[in-house]
């Protein structure tokens, strides 16, 4: 037997190229795009709603891309808060990719937007493998998932520079110590920023906006 060198192209090369294309388009239009990843039900939509309210009150135009696996609940919530929203039904897909975002972006008024939030599918595994071409990325978990989320899914946290720990109002009720989660995060991502939020009571939203450079 012998080996034949192939040195194939990166299998995800097309995705990386599309992510670069998105990045250029967004930057070219001065749109600050934020990729919002995180666990199912952790509060991704709620946090984006709170941020939309602040940004719009500031006179900024906000766009959203909502990846709902079915239906358009998140999309409607964004519209109700005054965002320009695009709904994507991802069905059984476990993550958004740059190609899908490329399509969605072409339906948004890029010239007028200042900020674009992209809510990914609730999943702590794959979205990290698929950059979308955004300026910033954040990953949301909540206290109700327990204190071991970072230890169970370390790789997404190791490469995402903003961690949002939401539902701090419920921490005591579920017996979770937020400090434990923050220290686990610091262990895998010493340069990351951890933000504690309570989207229900509007706490931590200013800190989150600051971390995102908004």
């Amino acid at each position: 037997m012998h080996n034949v060198q192939v040195h194939g192209e990166d299998i995800l090369k097309r995705q990386l190229e599309l992510a670069e294309k998105n990045r250029r388009l967004l930057e070219g239009n001065n749109v600050i795009a934020i990729s919002v990843m995180g666990a199912i039900g952790s509060g991704k939509t709620s946090l984006i709603e709170r941020m939309i309210d602040r940004l719009i009150a500031d006179g900024r135009q906000v766009g959203t891309i909502a990846a709902d696996s079915a239906g358009d609940d998140d999309h409607r919530r964004f519209l109700a808060h005054g965002a320009n929203s695009i709904n994507l039904n991802t069905q059984d897909d476990c993550h958004l990719d740059a190609h899908t975002v490329d399509h969605a972006v072409s339906h948004l008024p890029m010239e007028t937007l200042d900020v674009l939030f992209i809510e990914n599918v609730g999943n702590l595994i794959c979205p990290a493998d698929f950059p979308l071409g955004t300026a910033k990325e954040m990953v949301v978990i909540s206290t109700t998932e327990g204190d071991d989320m970072v230890r169970k899914h370390p790789k997404i946290f190791a490469q995402t520079d903003i961690l949002v720990l939401n539902k701090t109002d419920l921490a005591d009720a579920v017996g979770v110590n937020p400090e434990r989660i923050v220290s686990d995060y610091a262990a895998v991502n010493p340069h990351g920023t951890a933000i504690l939020t309570d989207a229900r009571h509007n706490a931590g939203i200013d800190e989150l906006l600051a971390a995102l450079g908004l």
Binding site: N3, G8, I11, H95, K155, A158, N189
Partner: protein
């Protein structure tokens, strides 16, 4: 997860080259960056299924891990990184930070995913064996 579509793209890209090869393709060597979250077992299963009816049928998918390598803009360090050593973590997690000066680093390797080589057995090699 998405291992199926990754395996599908891989086979699609590989077939033109694979079809020109004289002999039986015994193994496909895939290099996978340490930061990738793809499951090796799921990739192998998807590969086995999707390779049926092609020249890659009966080839084994061998996944070889590529360690994270970084360069440090602050002190000039180039090389491997430390891993989280806490037993509470069930995986060896690379820490994207300079092991000598703790600054932020640029990742130079660790996210790749490509077919590096094929292991081939020609008819004459098969006879000798």
């Amino acid at each position: 997860m998405h291992e199926y579509s990754v395996a599908s793209e891989m086979i699609h890209a590989l077939l033109p080259k694979a079809e020109t090869i004289d002999g039986r393709i015994v193994a496909v060597i895939l290099k996978k960056g340490e930061m990738r979250i793809l499951s090796d077992q799921a990739l192998a299963n998807a590969f086995e299924l999707l390779a049926q009816g092609t020249v890659l049928e009966n080839a084994r998918l061998v996944v070889e891990l590529v360690s994270v390598r970084v360069s440090c803009p602050a002190c000039g360090y180039e090389g491997a990184v430390d891993h989280v050593s806490d037993d509470a973590f069930h995986f060896a997690v690379p820490i994207l930070s300079c092991p000598t000066c703790q600054s932020e680093v640029d990742m130079k390797a660790g996210r790749e995913l490509y077919v590096d080589s094929l292991t081939v057995q020609t008819p004459s090699e098969a006879e000798q064996a």
